[in-house]
Subunit: 294 residues, 6 copies
Amino acid sequence: MPTGELRSTPLPTANHNSSSSSEDDAWVWAQIKAEARRDAESEPALASYLYSTILSHSSLERSLSFHLGNKLCSSTLLSTLLYDLFLNAFTSDPSLRSAAVADLRAARERDPACLSYSHCLLNYKGFLACQAQRVAHRLWQQSRQPLALALHSRIADVFAVDIHPAARIGKGVLFDHATGVVVGETAVIGNNVSILHHVTLGGTGKVGRDRHPKIGDGVLIGAGATILGNVKIGEGAKIGAGSVVLIDVPPRTTAVGNPARLVGGKEKPSKHEDVPGESMDHTSFISEWSDYII
Amino acid sequence: MPTGELRSTPLPTANHNSSSSSEDDAWVWAQIKAEARRDAESEPALASYLYSTILSHSSLERSLSFHLGNKLCSSTLLSTLLYDLFLNAFTSDPSLRSAAVADLRAARERDPACLSYSHCLLNYKGFLACQAQRVAHRLWQQSRQPLALALHSRIADVFAVDIHPAARIGKGVLFDHATGVVVGETAVIGNNVSILHHVTLGGTGKVGRDRHPKIGDGVLIGAGATILGNVKIGEGAKIGAGSVVLIDVPPRTTAVGNPARLVGGKEKPSKHEDVPGESMDHTSFISEWSDYII
Amino acid sequence: MPTGELRSTPLPTANHNSSSSSEDDAWVWAQIKAEARRDAESEPALASYLYSTILSHSSLERSLSFHLGNKLCSSTLLSTLLYDLFLNAFTSDPSLRSAAVADLRAARERDPACLSYSHCLLNYKGFLACQAQRVAHRLWQQSRQPLALALHSRIADVFAVDIHPAARIGKGVLFDHATGVVVGETAVIGNNVSILHHVTLGGTGKVGRDRHPKIGDGVLIGAGATILGNVKIGEGAKIGAGSVVLIDVPPRTTAVGNPARLVGGKEKPSKHEDVPGESMDHTSFISEWSDYII
Amino acid sequence: MPTGELRSTPLPTANHNSSSSSEDDAWVWAQIKAEARRDAESEPALASYLYSTILSHSSLERSLSFHLGNKLCSSTLLSTLLYDLFLNAFTSDPSLRSAAVADLRAARERDPACLSYSHCLLNYKGFLACQAQRVAHRLWQQSRQPLALALHSRIADVFAVDIHPAARIGKGVLFDHATGVVVGETAVIGNNVSILHHVTLGGTGKVGRDRHPKIGDGVLIGAGATILGNVKIGEGAKIGAGSVVLIDVPPRTTAVGNPARLVGGKEKPSKHEDVPGESMDHTSFISEWSDYII
Amino acid sequence: MPTGELRSTPLPTANHNSSSSSEDDAWVWAQIKAEARRDAESEPALASYLYSTILSHSSLERSLSFHLGNKLCSSTLLSTLLYDLFLNAFTSDPSLRSAAVADLRAARERDPACLSYSHCLLNYKGFLACQAQRVAHRLWQQSRQPLALALHSRIADVFAVDIHPAARIGKGVLFDHATGVVVGETAVIGNNVSILHHVTLGGTGKVGRDRHPKIGDGVLIGAGATILGNVKIGEGAKIGAGSVVLIDVPPRTTAVGNPARLVGGKEKPSKHEDVPGESMDHTSFISEWSDYII
Amino acid sequence: MPTGELRSTPLPTANHNSSSSSEDDAWVWAQIKAEARRDAESEPALASYLYSTILSHSSLERSLSFHLGNKLCSSTLLSTLLYDLFLNAFTSDPSLRSAAVADLRAARERDPACLSYSHCLLNYKGFLACQAQRVAHRLWQQSRQPLALALHSRIADVFAVDIHPAARIGKGVLFDHATGVVVGETAVIGNNVSILHHVTLGGTGKVGRDRHPKIGDGVLIGAGATILGNVKIGEGAKIGAGSVVLIDVPPRTTAVGNPARLVGGKEKPSKHEDVPGESMDHTSFISEWSDYII
């Protein structure tokens, strides 16, 4: 298998999901370049793409800024402007790079379809949308709302991923497939969370400022789940695909269905593995889901 | 707050959701220009964008035609052609502008994340898709199906919003977030309706011509709701997020779940506020939803 | 009706859904050219588009390669490169053309909103995404993973349709509306299947290689349905819109709801028409769905 | 000869070089459309181009505005903006269309390589640069210097034709080949003049405002001729290719060489045909050029 | 010197200026790939460009077609269309490749500033314009005038090189610098000719069909020379920079000045080296040019 | 006159043609911004352009890098890559900015058609080509030939200005109009030189490395002049338009004609003003040019 060789390269340390040292970051970037070099050699038709996006750049920040600038530009928001914007943000705020590396690791470790770091860096719209949102978030925090929202609009158009620039997102987050994700203004997403496509973290009504969900660390949210209002999804909770969640979900429990109910019952819900956002088991609850009776 | 100043400018009249006089339209356009001027001054990086899309234009119609032409163009459908198409439509049919203004007001009044009219005009894919669909609808009515469908295709590609050009849409409609909305050929949407993302107004089977839902005035349809067939959603009804609705829903009632049931029961459903499409309260029914038992 | 004239042209043979002879293919291509010629004459504004995409090409393969190359290109993956890639694939593997023709027929016959073959060829993002995926699948089979995944990424960006290049797809498949469709790496889709938008054929957990659904011939999957894991959806089964399916569904039965249940009960489920993927009746089960009680 | 058929169509009136009635203009536009239709039929590969540039437009003004907008646009001066600019100019000032028609006739009648009006309209950079300059000149006269100069810059980049927007140009002017033509700010070019490529009508020094040549009606200026300073080239004069002219040239005489001398001598120069700008005989003077002694 | 290494690679045969066997062609293509590989390694910023234009292609024909398609395309003449056009021509007519190789050799051998074959292939506008003209010439011969002229127009816009598609050009021709070259419809250029920038091979008057110069084998034409009318420049003649030539020039003589005179006198002109088009000595005549008396 | 107001602003110091302090540079950049702001206000259609090219940038270097990146990019050499390249060069080597400022002053002071510094910065192809060449020259000196030549090729295509990256160019140089300028590999151009369009500083033959002209400080070279070989044009010399110069020209003398002769005779040539490159008087020699006898 042409992609197998590099996959066995051992990671430098055993456990570094949510935070990454500068050394780790360098290791991932070196890995990405090695992957791209291998692919460029085996596939000349792709070599130009790999050189322009990865191999011609001296750092992950530059590669990402280039790639996002060219993906998100339009005839009225030029790639040079966006490239500059991204590069300035990545240069000024090193935590943006660390977060990107943590997200790359998350995809590589949790998604069996993720063949390599470079695969994620180049092709995962969830990863790219998330990094661009982090830059938009930085602009938002600097009271540069109009620019943050223009960037937000481009991300929503290009990736069909709509995360408000004011939303706060942890590290080691995997937006898998990502199409159709909507995350509202006051939502908070913890570390090591995995969110599938079509997931909504939405508001309700026109009241208050703090009106969107708070997602704890290690949560797994299945495809098409809708979580509405300022509710709290506890650490390590699991939300079944297609669920509609309108109230709090305790830590390490599973909510499924429309309306969502706790597996094992409201009083004594079953507890499961600690970090489903990492283990990615979407259907462990099947046997317990009493009325699942096909 | 840098965006606060202009928000306090009083609206000229108290109530003008679904219709707007030419005077009101002028007020909104003036407001948009003032917002854009303020943002261009505070954010030089965005000034070029704001001048090209708003400040260089003499009217809302021209601004919209320019923005849509540049957003929807492709290498085989040039921006100049689309610009011409939009400008001709807006010039020939003033009701298109009124509808756009009513939609701008709807976003500004109902969506707490909508900071300004210009924010909606520039960045809301639901707003932009809806205005472009209205022009496609006009072409459809003029028996210019192939052109209407080409435009429809561009809207579906660029915004991931798929509204058939034959569908009829009222004024003051808010497509919030909008990604993934699908509206079929014979669907009708009333005035002051609010529709969240991933909502489907779909057909069923291959029978008949009139095979899609009819949505009454003031209806609120939650994220991910699927309404299928030639069913009638009564005025002011509310459809819960993620619901699957296959039969009629009476006015001012709430349908939730998959399959959807009326809150309060089929026989004597609870009645709620008159225009949920404006109040945007998605979860008022929680306490009454009997089996919502997390 | 301007589009009526050509619609009455009889198909050359009575039944040719899933396979198409070279002669049939030629008939469809001739039909497409005739439609495009008619539309170019009646709509000069669209003539340039119709000539560049259809009328200037000597074969369906060239037309499709041109159209896909121009739709999927980006500033770092040039249209000429993609055009070449598509043309080579279509030339080397005639079954790609047969599959495209079968899909065109599927759209034309099953979707009442499909006015003509050229309408589908030019405008149906589901059709276009599927043809591009077939080429990506071919690359995958040739162990050209990096190129297959780059193409996959473009399809997911441009059409918001995310079908893994390793997934196997039959002929005569209709992806209707298509936005938000996600199909995983080890999924298999049979012949004459119809799949609506927002449908997920997803994996679960990080285990195993074979972790995605297998969809039998003639299945109909309603909008927003989520099918997870290596489950088997039997021939001619019907999955209701918004359903969440986690276990096998027997042939010619209907599963609805979240979690999905069999209409008629688990023990003795009701049987329905043979090929719902062709008849496209999404709601035949309403009367039998016992607790559907609005 | 495939292009011969339409060439024999008689012109409506006998003599209409420098001025053209509205009726004549209509005839030329009809001719252009007929030519484009013929070419689109015989050459499908070009049909898309011909429809987008000519056949989809309702008037010569629109066709020219579209063509110039798309030729002269850049990533920072969008085609929609330029299209608008040109269309407004052509609509407000009908003499721009008359001048364009007169120039089309000039090319068609004087240049044996000009096969058709549409050939000139689409392909002659001298024709296109001249029409764009006329619009820039109009902006200049309206005291819109910055816009006029931006347009001037685009013309100089795209066509390598550098005519200052303040220069005044008559009707029925042929810029043949045109590459490298430079015409200064205070130059004046009469009616029915023919100017070959690399011709300079330049200033000298930094003095005065009126510092460029004045070219009389019917003058012919050969390739590479350089005319410097506020000198007067009399009506019907002929300037040999490669000549350097620094002082006045009397009407209907020929100046050749570097420095230029009058053929026949300074005292009694030979007189020639009345309108060399129309007859285009560049070398009639050979026998008389005494020292031409190869 | 980083570029020195490959320059010493010996050519396979001693003398092959004007014709090249298929084997020689393969050698040049291999050389081009080796050069591009070396440059891609030493200059990562350029690697993407080198892979897309050269290293991803399986033949010189494909590389040239890609490069010309992307250089000459416009918003109304797409790169895919032009790529197709070029590839078809190169595939159908192998003499186009031989001519290209001969021209590459000409540049490499005659121009001391030409560092490598790939340098010429990628960067020499004269080389690229000439190859594109050869394809236009082929279209012209096939009575596809409108397409040939559209291509001609693109070459004139993009490269500022204006060679009529009907002109006949030999092999081993070097258009050095090339900007401003104008070659008329009935001009003929022999083998191993070298033509500098701003050279005109022009017609005179509106008479006859055969009205442009005929340039013999091995001729050298200096910068800015203007040759007008159906005159014959004999084999191995040399035309001085800035000369204006209106009558025949005998073989192996030198014409200089405006008007041009033969060096050594009309009666007994000095003879010089056989193939100045190859030796490229522009000023050997200085000492003999009697009145050159600064 | 709308452009008059700012023109009277006094320059900070009296004489600073060829060198400029950092303070002077800041003054010029402030002036450019003031001009652009004025023009953006008076001409909304141009405001977007002025903001993107000038007003959104924090320094002249960034503005120039952006403008050149967008002007010179192509589908295979992206604007982001070029922008990066230019910005790096300008940041690493402050003399590039000083040279640009000196050139801006040269245009502003010598060319009566130059209305403002911003006019030159945005619109003068000679100025832009020269700044880009300086960056290419820097790459050349760093032994990055392939990149330097790729940039050279883009400059030659876009501006029709062909200056070899190895050529050395002084400060305060004005390339007026610039189309068709060709400067060879070993040419040297001094300070305060003015060079008109179509000027060639060419080599001769294939001999030696040092084969191009050396132009002294303050020289003025008229339009279309051709200077060939390793000849020396003395300080303050003047070369008449259209001249062909093959041997040295003494300081402060004037050479005119083809072949060029010294005004006043070879033995005792007339002397003129010290710095014709600044006074720009192209025709002071007329009265003395004995055989100029029209």
